[in-house]
Symmetry: C2
Subunit: 432 residues, 2 copies
């Protein structure tokens, strides 16, 4: 056994208690071997966490990571206009190299802000898998399949490609890449395709992830056509299951909440995106109270505009209170749970908790900052005061991905330069 010890810090435990402890990691299996009293470990290597807070690596449970290339390209627009006028025309010009560059940029950003795992639905997914492998993070990846705007043959090709990617890439990158089947949304995929492909995914036990109930425009047409709420329709299609999860769930009624709880289907909350696109406020406290599993995601950088899960925790707590009309709603422990164990469970990773046996995915936060002073309550700080830039080290699968703010697996300068060049050429093509 080769070991790494994270020493000298205070450790956030699964029960949200925080106490001084050292974390012993088995770097061969990439799991936590033990969490022990300070000063008791004898490891091959040490990572200094003194004066810091050791937390589970955050899990970004819904993003489109390569959309970092779109960051700031189209803000302050309504969702439909934004997609049709700004996003889709540029996406039509995407090349594999763009996705690779955008994914590298997004993953660099996530590592720097303490995120060790993410769920991604996009295009050219083998490129994303390659960057995940190189960067050392963990990801659940799916090829986003859509029928809107495609002829029948092209749509079938797209869906077959989605299943093929899921089968071929699952378990690659030493098991850090897992896959999923990702039909885009309830309104952008024709019913017949759900009827044909969902059973195929279920046959192979492939998790399904999709967008649902993000805006009222995604609810009303389905109610009109099927005389069912969207998630009743989704259930009828076989989309709701324990190994599956949906993004957004902003406009859900009580019957749909009950259905999600019954099926144990997780909702991934994307508060920043929901605010920025004026989609609405997800009833997160209601979901939690009903026993619906809830995870947290940034959505793509085009509607956020960053991939910083600390922002997202704060946003979740803030908007959760507004949605409930109650300052007690979505409290700090709930927000932390959502971004760690909640997201990890939704995505299907044994991460999001610092405990023997779990994946050794963690971040060390430097507490020696004016905005983290005084220290009445470190859990509160995690949600309401810590910034992504306070993360000192990031570890995933037992490997140090960032040490003292220096990336260890990616060349940051190269990543930034490459993304700039790629974005410029991509937008030039789209405008040509």
């Amino acid at each position: 056994m080769d070991t790494l010890a994270v020493t000298g810090g205070e450790v956030l435990r699964p029960d949200h208690s925080i106490d001084p402890a050292d974390v012993l990691i088995d770097t061969v299996t990439g799991t936590i071997d033990a969490v022990v009293e300070p000063g008791e470990v004898d490891a091959d290597r040490e990572l200094d966490a003194s004066g810091g807070l050791v937390v589970p690596g955050l899990v970004n449970a819904h993003t489109h990571v390569a959309m970092t290339l779109f960051r700031g390209s189209a803000d302050d627009k309504q969702l439909d206009d934004w997609l049709q006028e700004d996003i889709w025309p540029v996406e039509a010009e995407l090349q594999a190299g763009d996705v690779r560059a955008g994914a590298a940029l997004g993953i660099a950003e996530m590592i720097r802000s303490g995120t060790t795992a993410f769920a991604d639905m996009y295009f050219f997914m083998p490129e994303v898998a390659a960057v995940v492998e190189e960067a050392g993070v963990r990801a659940r990846l799916g090829h986003g399949a859509i029928t809107v705007g495609k002829d029948d043959e092209a749509a079938h090709e797209d869906f077959r490609a989605g299943l093929e990617f899921a089968r071929e890439y699952d378990g690659t990158a030493d098991g850090r890449v897992r896959t999923m089947f990702t039909p885009h949304s309830l309104t952008t995929v024709d019913e017949s395709f759900y009827r044909e492909y969902v059973p195929k995914a279920r046959e192979d036990d492939i998790p399904i992830h999709f967008h649902a109930n993000e805006t009222e425009n995604e609810v009303d047409p389905l109610v009109e056509e099927y005389d069912q709420r969207p998630l009743e329709y989704a259930d009828d299609l076989g989309l709701l299951a324990e190994n599956s999860f949906l993004a957004h769930g902003v406009h859900v009624d009580d019957r749909e909440i009950e259905l999600l709880a019954e099926r144990e289907t997780a909702v991934i909350h994307n508060p920043a995106s929901n605010m920025k696109l004026a989609s609405g406020m997800a009833p997160v406290q209601k979901l939690l109270d009903a026993g619906v599993p809830v995870g947290l995601g940034t959505d793509g950088a085009a509607s956020n505009n960053d991939l910083d899960m600390f922002d997202e925790m704060r946003d979740a707590a803030m908007i959760g209170k507004l949605a409930a009309g109650d300052a007690r709603a979505v409290d700090a422990p709930a927000a932390v749970e959502m971004a760690t164990a909640g997201s990890a469970a939704a995505v299907g990773f044994d991460s999001g908790r610092i405990e023997a046996g779990a994946n050794a995915d963690l971040a060390v936060i430097d507490l020696d900052k004016p905005h983290l002073t005084p220290r009445h309550d470190l859990l509160s700080h995690l949600v309401y005061a810590v910034k992504g830039s306070d993360v000192r080290h990031t570890v995933c699968d037992g490997t140090v991905l960032m040490a003292d703010r220096e990336l260890q697996t990616l060349d940051l300068e190269e990543v930034i330069d490459d993304a700039r060049e790629r974005a410029e050429a991509l937008f030039d093509r789209a405008q040509a």
Copy 2:
């Protein structure tokens, strides 16, 4: 003339255009002498802004800066419970040294996140003035006067102290300290005190700043008692004027909005605090459309939980869209305007714009970050992607307060240690 040139950066102009330029500062007057083509300045000293974005120093137009000592001490509670159970009992134990330590902590935090000026309503204000002088920032300070919970004599003493502070300290710290008269709120100050003291403040041309319409609980009792909306009552008391400004304005109706526009009284929007305390969503786009002057503030760190105006700009844009149900509302230019020129005008400083003649209050942002890549739109980045930690230099009144992230006027370690000790002793006293 002694000069400092900020060179090599791109400069955000008052019309929101951004172009490469150098900023020449007259350090004797503390004002901007000229904004010129790159490479043309000949100055006594230079501050390197290459690869950076030069923006006006942000103006935090409503805070209680010493409340940094309360950060994280009581979260996820309703406003009334929070005040009565958590805040007021501790505030009863406050000593001058606590306010000095808390103010130093908050000012350090603000300088580090590009804020150069603030408006502060609290207690022991000579202590705050002393730290403002030492730290080199700019502030409009007022002694928060209140009648609730006080006997008549104590209340009069409090109000007289408020006027005396405003008269005595105005123009100190080489003019960087300006003052105001700050009756706490429409519901925590007895009408007779407004009738007596507002004319005295007006006589001496002292600006007035107060809390109003923050929660529904602050609206309903006034409507009941006076059969007037709160801001009609405020107008009747002589509180609405061009040199005066109110904090929050969450629950305002159309008549009140009209009144604010007529009186040219600024509303200071505090989105983070309004979300965290579930107070509601201020109709910011409606205020702007009606021509009401709008500034931006963090409120105290106990309800935020930081003093980072970049967070606040993002929050303002986000919640502004939700409140309007329109993703086009409170766009990036509006949010930037609010945090710079809008706040500066409300507070009464000739800051918030980079232009010859204005105060030399500015911040330089390091753009060479993954989360600020690519660069489709730097104004969008300012609101949706820049973090306080991206600020490289901060300049106020022509003096460099932070250079390459190093504070120049405060000893950060000492500030943090002092705040920790003070907070511990304060809370020990309160719990005794």
